[in-house]
Each structure stands twice: as C-alpha cells, then as structure tokens.
C-alpha cells in the first residue's frame, strides 16, 4: 500500500529492465556510433530524400523546392496540378512548420483541418520557413513542396485526425524497436508524444500492436475514439523493416530513428531519419532498449558481415513475442 503518489522510479528497477536515459543514450550510442560529419544526411530532408532515391527507397514525391520569397506562383501551379501538397522546412524538427494543403477554394488554399488559407498567409508561412524560424539553430532554410500522403485507412482509423507515423530504431543495421504514433484530441492532430499523442508498441516479429502508452500511463483503447488498439496489425509489415534498415544504411550512422508513413496506395514511404531518436519508444513498448542494444552489439561484433535479411530475421526472432 502506498499513501502518497509515487514520484520517482527507482533507478535500480529501471536498470533491471534496461530502460536507457538521455545521458546513456548520448554517451554510449549517439556520440560513439554517429559520426558528426554525416549529420547533414539526417538533418536536411532534401539530402535524406536524394540518398533514398539513389537507394530506390520510396519517399513522398518532391514537387519542388522554394528558395525565394517569390515562389508563390510555383505553389499555386503545383496546387492546381496535384490537388494537394505539403510544404515543409528542409531542416525542421519535430514536425514544426509543416503546412498541409488539401486543395483550393477559389483563390484560397484549404488546409487539412478545412480552414481556408489566403495568399498572404501562405506568403508569411514561407517567409518564416526561409527565415529559419523552424530550423535547428535558426539558420536560413528553404522549403520543400511534396506529395501529400494519404494514410492507409487501417492506420487512419486509429488516429484522431492527423496522420500516424511509424518510428523504427535501427542499430548497426539491426531493427531494435518499433512504434506507431497516433494523434489524439489533446495532441491537436500531431503525432508528437509529449503533446499528448499515443505511442503504440509494435511486435517486431508479427507487426501487431502489443502495447499502448499515453502520457498518463498504459492504455488499451484510443482515449477519443474508443477504438481498441491492442492486436491491430500494421499493414505491409513485411516490407517495413527491410525499408527501415535500408534507409538507416544510407545515413552512415549506426544509431538511427527512421520515420515512415503508410500511404494508402504506395505503402510505406520514408519521411525522415533522426540521429538522436527519443526514448519514449521504450514506454510505448513497455520494454527497455538496453538489453536489445547490448545483444545486437555482441551479434554485430561476432558476425560483422551479416546480410540485411539475416539481420532482420535475427531481430524478429530475438525481439518478437
């Protein structure tokens, strides 16, 4: 019996289940495994995309790049041509500054939420991106105009608005852990976990959701829609892990978070890669990263020449339920 709400976890208990903290992630994995010189490959979405194309990894189609204020005409033409598009800062982080336009209403644009957006507001948004408002460190940036991804209906049904995305951590070419992030009413359509989104842990062997976490603790159904979450299968799971491993391979980094989106028609598309993937994936899966990373480190040192299929098979076998 406890009379006071528990404030702190005991460090010994966390260590026992292998939860890693930021210090350990940085000291043991990010700093020694990820050479600084390759950071541009993950920080610049355009570079990520070019590398992906060269390795024939599917990504949302790039319509254009906005480098100057005067490119509004281009946006208009692209919007008329494709119907919908996404404008995002090249170096944005955490989904900031992403503008989804789903069509045109007269001279105005329509945002994903249904709200109309005038020419003037579009111009301001672009100037914010170019001015570096959303980029790391506030440096000058440019904007990408991309195909709008329509999420697979199975996943879209799990989310309260917004598009769910998949995060897979890949270590030295081995998949380590995966989760699906879905938006809630509280997270305002964003799939960002500390803004209230849900993290759904995925069983690597089967692609089934086996655990669900909200900022308050473990859950079994969506807080807004009431949809049951556990046991749902991620579509196209058989291609997700190979794609993630291949994408991680293009970065030159050894400890990478790979973000994918599941397009209704095209299947999994690479969104971006991350050199400092967050730690919430552990909560989403109800499991610590450390035992897996340790096992993979030993495996990789023992069999340094293993092929991608073998690495994936190893992870699925070791970390599946």
């Amino acid at each position: 019996m406890r009379f006071f709400p528990k404030l702190f976890a005991s460090p010994a208990a966390l260590r026992r289940v292998g939860i890693i903290g930021i210090n350990q992630r940085n000291a043991e994995f990010v700093l020694p495994e990820n050479p600084r010189k390759f950071y541009d490959r993950v920080d610049s979405k355009l570079t990520t995309k070019k590398l992906a194309l060269a390795a024939s990894i599917p990504t949302p189609t790039l319509y254009g790049v906005i480098r100057r204020q005067s490119a509004r005409k281009m946006v208009r033409e692209l919007a008329l041509e494709h119907g919908s598009l996404v404008i995002k800062p090249n170096r944005g982080s955490g989904g900031k500054g992403i503008l989804v336009l789903t069509g045109m209403v007269g001279d105005n644009y329509r945002k994903a939420s249904g709200v109309e957006l005038g020419e003037d507001e579009l111009r301001w948004h672009i100037s914010n991106i170019l001015g570096g408002l959303f980029s790391l460190g506030g440096h000058r940036d440019f904007a990408l105009v991309e195909e709008c991804v329509y999420p697979d209906p199975i996943l879209a049904d799990l989310s309260f608005q917004g598009s769910p995305d998949l995060r897979i951590i890949v270590f030295r070419g081995y998949p380590v852990m995966a989760m699906l992030r879905v938006a809630t009413r509280k997270s305002d359509g964003r799939a960002n976990l500390h803004q209230g989104a849900l993290g759904l842990g995925i069983d690597l062997a089967t692609g089934l959701i086996h655990h669900a976490y909200a900022s308050g603790g473990s859950v079994t159904e969506h807080p807004d829609t009431g949809a049951p979450l556990l046991g749902k299968a991620i579509p196209h799971w058989e291609v997700v892990l190979p794609l993630a491993v291949k994408a991680a391979g293009t970065t030159g980094l050894n400890y990478v978070g790979v973000d994918l989106m599941m397009d209704a028609k095209r299947g999994p598309l690479l969104l971006e890669t991350n050199a400092r993937p967050g730690l919430t994936i552990q909560m989403a899966n109800g499991a610590g990263l450390y035992p897996r990373l340790k096992k993979l480190r030993e495996r990789q040192e023992e069999y340094p020449e293993e092929e991608a299929e073998e690495r994936i098979a190893f992870s699925m076998e070791q970390f599946g339920k």
């Binding site: 528990k6 404030l7 702190f8 976890a9 005991s10 460090p11 208990a13 966390l14 289940v17 939860i19 903290g21 930021i22 210090n23 350990q24 000291a27 043991e28 900031k96 003037d120 507001e121 111009r123 301001w124 100037s127 914010n128 001015g131 570096g132 408002l133 959303f134 506030g138 976490y213 308050g216 603790g217 473990s218 730690l279 552990q282 909560m283 109800g286 499991a287």
Partner: protein, 509 residues
C-alpha cells in the same frame, strides 16, 4: 571502457596541479584559505554645494592624488552634470553644466583601505619650487624680519622652522612681533591668517610651504568642514602637519585630502560655494591586505592586475563555477535551460543588480517583449526584422528603467552597468525566438529552468568563501575542470527521467 583510463589520467594530473598549487600557496606563502580576518576601509565623501549665478558652471574639486593606486572604488554623483576626472600633476574632479536652478549639490565618494590614509610624507621628484618673497612693508616687514631671525636661531631645519613659526604665532604673548603680524594677517583674512602668516615667514627664509587640506576620520556620521593643513618641503619630501597643533605629531584620525598647492575648490558660475566631508568606516575581509604583491605573477594573478581589471577578474573566475552548476542541473537533474551558458550570464547579471530588482526587470522586459511580439506577428513581418524590432523595444525599456532608477535615487546606490542589461536583453530575444519556434510551453519551461539554475548559481557565486577561494586560488579552476570532465562520463538516469519513467516501472512490475 575506451578513453576511460586517459580521462582518469587527465583528471589526476589536473587535480594534482591545482591541489598542489593551492597547498604550496597556503603552506609556504601563507595565503588564507578562509576569509576570516577583516580589514578597515573608509568611505570618504566630499560634498560641494553652491548657488548658481546663471552663467555656465564649472566646478573643480581637488582629489587625493596620493590615493590613486589604493582607491578601491570611486564614484561621482551629479545629476545633470557632465563629469570628468583630470589626472595630471593634480587629480581633480570636474563637473560642468550649462544652467542649473536652485542650490546645487555635487558628491564625490572614495573607498580606500585605512592603511592608505596614514600617509604624512610625500616623496617629491624634481627640485624645490622657487620661493617668492612676500611683499611686506613698514612695521609688518620689520616684525616679520625680526621673527624670522629669531626662528632661524631656534630651529635646525625646514621642519622645525615652520612648526616653530606656527607655535609662536599662536602664543601671541611670547614675543611682541607676533601681535603685529597677527593683526596684519587677520585684517587680510580672519579665517586664514595663521596659514598666510606661516607661509610668508617660510618664504622669507627660503622654505617652500603650501596649504593642504584634510579631513577627520570619524565613525559617527556627520558633516565636517575641511581641516586646513600646511605642507613644507624637506630635503627630499613634502611633509604635512596641522598648524593648529604644530608641536604635535600629526594627529591620528586625520587624513590628507588634497595637497600640492592647488585650491581645494574652484567654482565658476556659482557663489557661496563650500566643501564639506563625511566619512564612514567599513569592515571587510582582509583578502588583499594579507598578500604581498612581490610574488611571481602566476602566484598572485589577482594582485598583478590594475584595479579596474580586478572586478572583471572576479567575474571571470566565477564563470566556471556557474558552468559546473549548469552541468549538474542539466545532466543530473534534467532541467532544461536556454543554452548552456545563458544561466551563468544571468547569474552574473544578478550579482551586479540586486536580485529582486533584477527579477522584476527581467519579468517586465519579457512580458513587454512578448506582448510586442504578438502585436508584430499580426503584421506578418519577416523573421529577422521581427526579432530586431523586439530588441529595439527592449532597449527602449532599458532606457526607461535607467531613467526611472536615476530619478528614484538608485543612481548613487546602484550602478546598472551595460553588461547585465545586455544579458537581459539577449535572453529576452532568445526567449521570444523560442516562443515562436517551439511554442509557449517549451519557452516557459526553459526560461523557468534557466532562472532556477541562474538563481542557484548566483547563490553559490555570491558566497564569500567561493569568491575568496577563486580570487586567490584561481588554480582551483583546474580542479573544477577535472570535476566537470568526470561528470561528463555520467551515463546514469537524470532525476526528471526517474519521474518520467515511473509509470514504466509500475507497468513492468
């Protein structure tokens, strides 16, 4: 672990070097580790008052040049005046203004160690100044000549001549000539007759003598008129004495203020001018006093610096302590701050400005800047001009703060220098950028974290012991460096992570 042994080797060397230097300084050179002893200092204040006549005003006040090297701090309070310090042969404070209404009061304050005030003799370069014979006539000339003859016969050197002259003039009954001289000089100036007479007698005998001014060192607060003193030229030095007590050793508790023959106060464009003094005794830790400046430069880095650099030095040695605290708070507790260095800068600003005032200023500036930012965001300005506009508003706000502070009377007790203001303004800029980029919650969290860490750093940096040790044992910074390097290897959980992960533990239990 790779690099581990190397790290420990570095840490060992750093601790050995730092600790060794400290031990050497403490054991062999006798540096005090704890600032226990105190030293007396005096706060001397000269107040000039006068009635302006309507013409442009120039006020020139003689200052104690001999204290130049020893002054701990000085300030001139003078609202509405231009101020400059002449630092030539003489040392003078000069105030200027075009036109001022009503009675004017100007202040000059000095803080000096007590020891520095005990100087009575002043070495003099150059030859004795030429003596101008006074133009005396008739009976006065006769009386003066006769008195000088008597004095020469009864004195051994310049000193005894001048002192004896004072004594004779004060005791009129001893010789008839003194009465004649006294009446003559009293007619010229009722107040200054004694000094005028002594200087003339000295001149007749070819002795250089001049008027000097002093003040009594009184612990009780109160206003005093300047003490008139006389200095005469010895073989090699100028010696100051009190003409009202010529036979005595220079009285304790009187300090020389100005000497060198210049007038104490010159006021142009004013009348009824006067100078008064006030003194206060302050006790401080005997940091500097205990040390000899003859040590090699790396031993007493601090002493080798000129006064103006010392306050900068004090801040520089405190910065690493602040950084150490930031490391602890960020990597062990998990508090987020605006950058690594910012909380330290904020803490330095707190050291300069009283902390409550600093927080109020900081809060007000943040609030106004943010309100202004929201107004600007409606105008759809580009990013850089928007930030620049915020900086302009913050600058205006700082102007208002300084002006109000001056009016309310902070100006004398509190000098808000440029440095903390820049830090505050810069923080406001970063904060408003962050507000744009990451949203209100992240910005507030980071600013709160920064203020908390800055406050803790401020509390530690303000500690007398910390300041003392770092000022006199800068090599302690090597140990701080070693500690930070060791902390850099910490790969355990942060306190806030234990909170974040508490549910996981329950889940898995």
């Amino acid at each position: 672990m790779k690099g581990g042994r190397l790290l420990f080797a570095y840490v060992f060397l750093l601790v050995l070097a730092g600790g060794g230097l400290v031990a050497w300084k403490v054991i062999w050179l006798g540096y005090p580790i704890i600032p226990s002893e105190t030293r007396d200092e005096w706060l001397l204040e000269a107040k000039v008052s006068f009635q302006p006549t309507g013409e442009p005003i120039t006020v020139s006040l003689a200052l104690p040049k001999y204290l130049e090297e020893r002054v701990l701090s000085s300030e001139a309070a003078s609202v509405g005046y231009g101020f400059l310090r002449e630092q030539g042969e003489e040392w003078r404070a000069v105030w200027t203004a075009r036109e001022r209404p009503g009675t004017q009061r100007l202040y000059f304050r000095l803080r000096v160690p007590e020891k520095a005030l005990a100087v009575r003799k002043f070495s003099s370069r150059g030859d004795k100044p030429a003596v101008v014979e006074p133009a005396l006539t008739g009976m006065t000339a006769e009386a003066a000549k006769s008195l000088v003859e008597h004095l020469v016969a009864h004195s051994a050197d310049e000193g005894s001549f001048v002192r004896h002259a004072c004594a004779l003039l004060l005791r009129e009954e001893d010789r008839p000539e003194t009465g004649v001289l006294r009446r003559y000089y009293e007619k010229r100036s009722a107040e200054l007759w004694l000094e005028a007479a002594v200087l003339d007698l000295a001149a007749l005998n070819g002795v250089s003598a001049r008027v000097a001014y002093g003040l009594r060192l009184e612990e009780e607060p109160g206003v005093q008129a300047p003490v008139r003193l006389i200095e005469y030229r010895d073989d090699s030095e100028w010696v100051v004495f009190d003409p009202s007590m010529p036979e005595e050793v220079f009285p304790e508790g009187v300090a020389v203020w100005s000497r060198g023959g210049g007038s104490l106060l010159v006021v142009e464009g004013g009348e009824n001018s006067s100078v008064t003094f006030a003194t206060t005794r302050v006790q401080v830790a005997a940091d500097v006093a205990a040390l000899s400046a003859n040590h090699p430069i790396f031993v007493s880095l601090f002493d080798s610096l000129p006064l103006s650099e010392r306050s900068v030095f004090r801040y520089i040695v405190l910065i690493p302590i602040g950084v150490l605290i930031v490391v602890i708070f960020r990597n062990f507790i998990g508090i987020v701050t605006l950058g690594t260095f910012m909380p330290v800068l904020l803490a330095l600003a707190f050291l300069e400005i009283p902390i409550i005032l600093a927080l109020v200023m900081f809060g007000t500036m943040l609030a106004v800047a943010l309100v202004f930012r929201f107004m600007l965001s409606r105008l759809h300005l580009l990013v850089v001009p928007r930030v620049a506009a915020c900086v302009v508003v913050v600058s205006l706000l700082m102007l208002v703060f300084s002006a109000v502070g001056h009016r309310v009377g902070f100006a004398t007790s509190l000098q808000i220098t440029l440095f903390p203001l820049i830090i505050l303004a810069w923080t406001v800029e970063r904060m408003s950028l962050l507000w744009d980029e990451e949203g209100a919650w992240v910005a507030i969290k980071q600013i709160m974290g920064s203020v908390v860490v800055a406050w803790v750093a401020f509390v530690v940096m303000r500690l007398n012991v910390v300041q003392h040790i770092l000022t006199f044992f800068p090599e302690v910074l090597l140990i701080v460096l070693a500690v930070i390097m060791l902390l850099g290897r910490y790969a355990g959980y942060r306190l806030f992570e234990l909170m974040r992960f508490r549910r996981v533990e329950e889940d898995l239990a």
